[in-house]
Symmetry: C2
Subunit: 156 residues, 2 copies
DNA sequence: CTATGTGCAAACTATTTGCAATTAG
DNA sequence: CTAATTGCAAATAGTTTGCACATAG
C-alpha cells in the first residue's frame, strides 16, 4: 500500500538543520546518513565502502557526492571522522551526547579492531590540555597491538 | 684538513644491522637518518619535508628513495611512524628504550602540536589490551583541541 | 524559477613501482 | 664482479574540483 515511502524519523531534523545553513535535503544525503544509521554506531566505513554499499542497496550516489556528503555530515557533527593508523579516512555515526572518548585497539597484523572506553584517558587528555592552555575537543587513544590469534602466529 | 669526512658515530651499528639483513649502507640512508638525528627526537617530518630539507642541505636524495628509506628505517625501528589526525604520514626518530607512550595535543585550527607523556594513558592501554587478550605494542593518544590563540580567535 | 546539488571526467596529491644505470661490498 | 640500490618516469590510490545538467524549495 504505501507507494510513497514514509519519511525517515530523522529526516525532518536533518532537513531543518540544512535549511538553517541555506542547504537542501537531497535523496543522496538521506541515503548516506540512513546507511550509517542502519549499520549502527560502532562501524567504520571509508568513502569507497559507503559508495559500494549504496550501490549494492540499489541506491546510486556518485563517489564524488559521497565524499562531499561525508564532509558535510561531519561538519554537522552527524558523522565523526576517525583516525585509525592503517588505512585511509573512515567515518562513523556520531552519537548524541558528549561521547568524546573513543578508543581503539588495532591489530597491526590483521587489522582487526576493538573499541573501548576509558575515563582515565579522558582525564589524562583534559589534564594535558589544561596544562598547555588548550581547549579540548576530542581525545582518541589508538593502541597498536597484536590480537590473540596474530600474537600466537608470531612464533619468532 | 679532514678531507675524508669522519664516519658518523651511529654509522657502524647501522651498517652491521643492514648487513645482517643482506642490505647495504648507502649515503642516502645515512643522510636520511642523520637528518632525523640532527633535528632531534620531538620533530615530525613528512616524506616531502625530508626531501626538501635534504635538498637544502645539498644532500641530493630522490623522493622515491626518501619514501623507500623511511619505510626501511621504520621497519628497523630507527624511526617511528606517527598517526597525527591532519596531514599525511609523518616520522620521527625512535628513541632507544621502550618509549612507547607518545601523546599529542593537536590544534585542529592552526596545526600546532605539543607532545606530552602520561603513565595513566599507558595503564589504560595495557588494561584494555589485557581485557581483550591483545599484546600491546604501542599506544598513542591524540587530543584534538584548540591552542590558546586559536581558542581566543574562535569568537563564535 | 533559481540557487544548490549532482554526476562525470579531469585534476591533484601522496605514494609506489618498473626498469636501466649505478655502486657497496 | 654482482646483487642491492638509486633515480627517473610512469603507474596507482585516494580525494577534490570545474562545469553542464538536474532539482529542492
Amino acid at each position: 500500500m504505501p507507494s510513497i515511502p514514509a519519511p525517515q524519523p530523522q529526516a525532518e531534523s536533518l532537513r531543518s538543520e540544512l535549511h538553517g545553513r541555506g542547504q537542501r535535503l537531497t535523496p543522496q544525503r538521506q541515503r548516506v546518513l540512513a546507511l550509517f544509521e542502519r549499520i549502527g554506531e560502532g562501524s567504520h566505513l571509508s568513502a569507497e565502502e559507503v559508495h559500494q554499499r549504496l550501490l549494492r542497496a540499489e541506491e546510486r550516489v556518485s563517489l564524488a557526492t559521497v565524499y562531499r556528503t561525508l564532509r558535510l555530515l561531519s561538519s554537522m557533527e552527524l558523522l565523526r571522522e576517525l583516525e585509525l593508523p592503517e588505512g585511509g579516512r573512515r567515518f562513523e555515526l556520531a552519537t548524541g551526547g558528549d561521547h568524546r572518548d573513543h578508543h581503539h585497539l588495532v591489530c597491526v597484523r590483521c587489522g582487526h579492531t576493538e573499541e573501548f572506553e576509558s575515563q582515565a584517558v579522558i582525564s589524562a587528555g583534559e589534564q594535558a590540555a589544561g596544562r598547555h592552555g588548550f581547549r579540548l575537543l576530542e581525545c582518541v587513544l589508538n593502541v597498536r597491538a597484536l590480537c590473540p590469534s596474530c600474537a600466537a602466529a608470531e612464533v619468532s
